[in-house]
């Protein structure tokens, strides 16, 4: 984390792949989404954000390497691919991006040897005067504002949805099956999958809050992204949560049961 924030403060573009396993500690080697807070909210010191991409397929694991480097270079900010131990070991058909599709340019700020025409380039994360450190922070905050335009998400059967599942990464793959199972039973369920978890699709979730009866957040952790969903809906609809921890994976049926029991309890209240 020290190194991460050093890179960030020095505004060095880089891509970090976090293939999350069950923790805390040495933990397990099975898949988890327990690092959501660490990836999106910090963990290092100072006010900062990474750009965080959450793939849900092996194809995206490959694509996001390229997208990640492009974003990192564009914003001079570290980018993280937030994956998990299952996606990291899964086998799926992949079409690899074309070789050479990333531009090879040397930015003007790089330390390539001082030229006569310019001042020496210095890459540092040290700003010992608080006035200067504050200015650096203000510039970072401007950057994070600009990064909001990079928000990406995927919607599955949300057009007529009365209930919305919200899940990222592997959990969203499992939720797709739940959507099908629920629809077979006549329950109109949709799914919103954040592709970027920083920046986060707050605005779209807020819109959907006016449409659905409730939301159910599905994660492989104790409930981390659910806080962002609650922030997004601003109390307009109830936001429920189901998750498992320590490397355990929910089944589509587990999620369906939870969904049905919440659905019933809502109806019971409404009667």
């Amino acid at each position: 984390m020290l190194i991460l924030v050093t890179l960030l403060a020095a505004q060095l573009p880089c891509l970090i792949a976090n293939v999350v396993r069950g923790g805390p500690g040495l933990g397990t080697i099975q898949p988890s989404q327990g690092d959501y807070f660490q990836a999106t909210k910090g963990g290092g010191h100072g006010d900062y954000h990474l750009i965080v991409l959450a793939p849900s397929s092996v194809q995206e694991m490959a694509d996001f390497v390229f997208d990640g480097f492009r974003l990192a270079e564009k914003y001079r900010n570290p980018v993280m691919i937030l994956s998990d131990g299952a996606l990291g070991q899964m086998m799926e058909k992949v079409i690899l991006p074309e070789e050479g599709s990333l531009p090879k340019t040397t930015p003007a700020w790089a330390t390539t040897g001082k030229k006569k025409e310019r001042e020496h380039n210095v890459i540092t994360s040290l700003f010992i005067q608080p006035e200067e450190m504050e200015q650096v922070n203000l510039r970072l905050q401007e950057k994070y504002k600009a990064i909001q335009s990079e928000v990406r998400y995927e919607e599955i059967q949300t057009e007529d949805a009365e209930i919305l599942l919200v899940a990222f990464g592997l959990s969203s793959r499992i939720c797709q099956k739940t959507v099908d199972l629920a629809r077979e039973k006549g329950i109109k369920v949709g799914l919103l999958r954040p592709i970027t978890v920083y920046p986060y699709p707050y605005a779209r979730l807020n819109e959907l809050a006016s449409q659905v009866e409730f939301m159910l957040t599905v994660e492989m952790n104790a409930g981390q992204m659910v806080e962002d969903v609650r922030l997004a809906v601003e109390g307009k609809v109830p936001v429920h949560f189901i998750g498992r921890m320590g490397g355990m994976i929910l089944s589509p049926e587990d999620i369906l049961h939870k969904l049905e029991s919440v659905h019933e309890s809502h109806n019971a209240v409404n009667v």
Binding site: T6, K116, V122, I123
Partner: protein
């Protein structure tokens, strides 16, 4: 200025030096105009000056990239007018590795204190040398954590009083002073390892030679060159600069003797 210039010992030698010189001594142009923040008498200032003088003389200002440490010399990049990066504590040789791998034809050096290189950065130090990275590692051994208030370093001497060894360093409790330069000699990646001083003119001249050699070896892509400078810390040692010279000579040098530790084998 076109005065006649004479050698220091003019009377004895009676020698007049080349009149075409306008100046025999000046601040190396590769040093910026920023005044050093170092305490009076601190070895860091001298090492900075000698290093920049060598870069000037070799004409490699545009070809050299330096990596500064965390420690009193964290701001080395304010003084050295070359492209520089500031690494996290202990990581200078890892950052230098990255720079050199991307720009293999440039000269790259790391500059670190003993807390940085021989405590928190021990792993990076050993593995950089073990890989034989084509860089120069400069190691300023003042036997103390200067920047943070004079705490005991791995290189502090037995019996040395520091803010974290107020009764003197005891081997039974915290181990013996670590001779990291000697250890590094065992690694095949180490091409040239030497220990120098900067508290007298002869030492400065020899350090200069060692620096010139190291850049030459780097050009020839020979492997890692490692220069330890046994230096001082008047503030941390709680001594006047003059007292530190005596301490270096009587206490430090018996433990860390000056001279080449590993020289190229032909």
């Amino acid at each position: 200025m076109n005065e006649k210039l004479y050698l220091e010992d003019e009377e004895n030698l009676g020698t007049q030096v080349d009149e075409s010189y306008d100046q025999v001594y000046c601040r190396p142009s590769t040093l910026t105009d920023v005044p050093f923040h170092y305490c009076p008498g601190c070895g860091h200032s001298v090492v900075h000056k000698v290093l920049m003088e060598v870069i000037d003389e070799l004409g490699i200002q545009e070809e050299t990239i330096g990596v500064a440490p965390v420690g009193c010399s964290v701001f080395a990049y304010q003084y050295m007018n070359i492209d520089m990066q500031e690494a996290a504590h202990g990581r200078a040789s890892a950052v230098a590795t990255g720079v050199k791998r991307v720009l293999p034809d440039k000269y790259v050096f790391s500059y670190q204190g003993d807390g940085d290189l021989a405590a928190i950065g021990t792993a990076e130090t050993i593995h950089t040398v073990n890989r034989g990275e084509n860089i120069l590692m400069l190691f300023i051994n003042n036997g103390i954590y200067g920047m943070t208030g004079g705490q005991m370093a791995p290189t502090s001497l037995i019996g040395q009083v520091t803010s974290t060894s107020p009764y003197g360093r005891e081997a039974a409790q915290v181990g013996n002073p670590i001779k990291i330069a000697d250890m590094l000699c065992l690694l095949p990646g180490a091409y040239y390892v030497t220990r120098q001083i900067v508290h007298n003119p002869n030492g400065v001249r020899k350090l200069k030679k060692a620096l010139i050699k190291s850049f030459e070896y780097q050009k020839q892509k020979k492997g890692t060159c490692f220069i330890e400078v046994v230096s001082n810390c008047p503030s941390g040692w709680k001594m006047t600069p003059v007292e530190t010279i005596k301490y270096i000579e009587e206490q430090m040098l018996p433990m860390y003797p000056v001279g080449d530790l590993k020289v190229p084998q032909n």
